[in-house]
Amino acid sequence: MQIIENSTVYDAIIVGSGAGGGMATKVLSEAGLKVAVVEAGPFFDPALPEHQTQLKWPYESPRRGASTRFRPFGDFDAAYGGWDIEGEPYTQKDGSQFEWFRSRMLGGRTNHWGRISLRFGPKDFKHKDIDGHGDNWPISYEDIKPYYDKVDKLIGVFGTNEGLPNDPDGFFLPPPKPRLHELFYIKGARKTNVPVYPARLSMLTKKLNDYRGVCFYCGQCNRACQVYADFSAGTCLIFPAQKNGGQVDLFVNCMVREVTTDAEGKATGVSYINKEDRKEYKLKGKVVVLGASACSSARILLNSKSKQHPNGLGNSSDVVGKYLHDSTGADRAGFIPDLMNRKVSYNEDGVGGMHVYSPWWGDNSKLDFPRGYHIEVWGGMGMPSYGFGFNANEFNKFFGTKVGGYGDVLRSDAKKYYGAVVGMAGRGESIARKENYCEIDPTTVDEFGIPVLRFHYKWSQYEINQAKHMQDTFEEILINMGGEPLGKKPGKETNYGLHNPGNIIHEVGTTRMGDDPKTSVTNKYQQLHDVDNVFIVDAGPFVSQADKNCTWTILALSMRASEYIVDQLKQQNI
């Protein structure tokens, strides 16, 4: 089959349209560069009625919002793709159970995420200096701070300046008031000596510009906002870039296979499969910017083998794919008797996520694990959807009355317990280890003939100890809320409920940055050590994942790398 070559030579080809690729699109196109954005899924815009799932009622789905293979977070979730995409497998090694969530669509996983937008703090860039684990970043908080500031103002995030040592202040929109279950959480957490602050989420509680709407509190950010009041890369970066007159060519349903190179080993562009006609195409560009996600970008590099790059592009160090790490995660929920018999007189949907949270408060020097976690909170009188009314009166057991039955008693029990459950999720930092990695599985290709990733990942005792600490803390907080923790407390046999790696969807680290080309893939500007016209703007260059969510840092670093690209092109260095 002949490869079809496009004659246009782009200034930059951006692979992926999520947080990293979206930010690169905005910065590069607004600097006057002609860019191509290559996205593996279809076009998506939540302002289009035919794309909207926001404000739909459960009965508009035949499965009432139950999850499917295509939408593991429910039938109305904006993000399609999931853990298990037909025709696009991944494999495991040595009993690993890595879970890889992918969203094939414009905006990628930013259409789904919880919008929890936390800056990394000064310690997060130099943690090796503190506890001897992992590695320091080649940059410090001061290097990235100006970009966090710009991202805050460009995209919008609510929160509060609290002057915390490792959870920096920023330029925040005002937070929403806590809901009833959150007032109970505040009470219970404080009694446990866990501090609570207003959450930091990227939703517009106040007008930011004339282009985007203001949050109307439907609590459905995961369905993607039709007035663009929450952050997703399509609505807040790529569309504005187009609107501002940027030269942006969108290539959707195009799955990048590899970065192409010339005889000198320099990148010349990318080759991709058009999913619609299943033929292979080539795009030419002066610079290639990979923002396909930490694992996908590593896969593209490892699949880009040539005479000049026999071990894969940018992989002379043999570090591509190594140091893969996800956030830790464990959860617990409880029944709060004081939240029974609620008045349903008002709409408490709020924003699509928590209004309060607890950043890490502990002192790791006194604990048996080196890094912290933050606590996310959920609860409330949510919209009924699939699962509502299951075991409707199981809480009768706490009052010694019969569980089950039929007839009108089920109706009164369902109302009695509506909104009386509060849940907590711990999301923490794991240590980046070389032994946790993804690599090319030589035995398996996807339906486009592209070799797939194979994962090798084991949690260490540190992460397990951290999960135990989460469970102890959750239980104490629930009891201090006057609640009854639900289910059996996860113990040693389940690693204290620690989720499989990948499950929290914060995977980072596969193309780590560093000053030494022998031990890192990119320099501190996310430029490959081996090839100066290839950059990585997703979470691959992270040296460590903090006890934060990674998106705000992806955005800030992508903005920084993109400005560097503009500067280097101007200086004709690349």
């Binding site: 815009d45 302002a47 009625p49 035919e50 794309h51 799932t53 404000l55 739909k56 009622w57 009965y59 789905s61 035949p62 009432r64 139950a66 295509f70 399609y80 509060t160 330029f171 925040f172 005002p174 937070p175 008031k177 806590p178 009833l180 007032l183 106040k206 007008k207 004339d210 985007r212 709407g213 109307f216 509190y217 609590g219 007035v227 663009y228 187009q242 609107k243 004081d338 939240l339 008045k343 007189s345 008002y346 709409n347 924003v351 919209m383 009924p384 959807s385 699939y386 699962g387 509502f388 009314g389 299951f390 057991k397 569980v403 089950g404 039929y406 009108d408 089920l410 109302k415 509506y418």
Partner: protein
Amino acid sequence: MDRRKSLKSIVLGSVAGGLALHGCKPSAETEELVESPKMTYPGRVPLEEELIAELQEEEFLNPHEVATLTILCDLILPGSEQFKAASDADVVGFIEFMAKDNPRYQPDLRGGLMWLDHKCNTEFAKEFKDCTVEQQKSILDTIAFYDPEVPGNERPFEVNFFSLVRNLTMTGFYTTKIGIEEIGYKGNMPNVWDGVPEDVLAQHGVAYEEEWLAKCVDQSKRGVIAEWDENGNLIT
């Protein structure tokens, strides 16, 4: 707040930018969205549409099973002067779909309905659907309650069968328009969240702290474009 009206203000207030982006004036399409929110199933990718079409073509329950399940579901959520019945919300249609979408429900549902008929045949020499309500209830009374301390997979089959039908009936009912109305959920429409009402705070014995409220959004200024001083203090 009237849903359509408020939706209209949002659309005219802010979506216009988004629509203009795609070169369509906020006219025909926008009006349609405002005046008649379509009861559709949007945003599906082709693979999802194929699956839905396939599932809708399949038939799982036969007419006898539909009749039996209809009676059973209406015993779980009966109709009365005050309340609508499970059948008013087509709960059986929902269960039919879920059984096809999630085939692991199928043996339990089908086997459980057979169990009911067998039990009634043994005790009353009639199938479940032909028994009197008293007879039907006398059977249900033996399977409708469970011991939550016994793990689910150790409970008798017929108890788990009834729990499954009860769960699907509850979800199937309370996710419909009439069910949502009954439970009283007030959301899924544009709103301006400004805190828990006083009477609710009082009922549950909690209160807001002044210090915390002072940090929160002043909803009267939500439409004013945000500006900050150089230290990150909001000044608008």
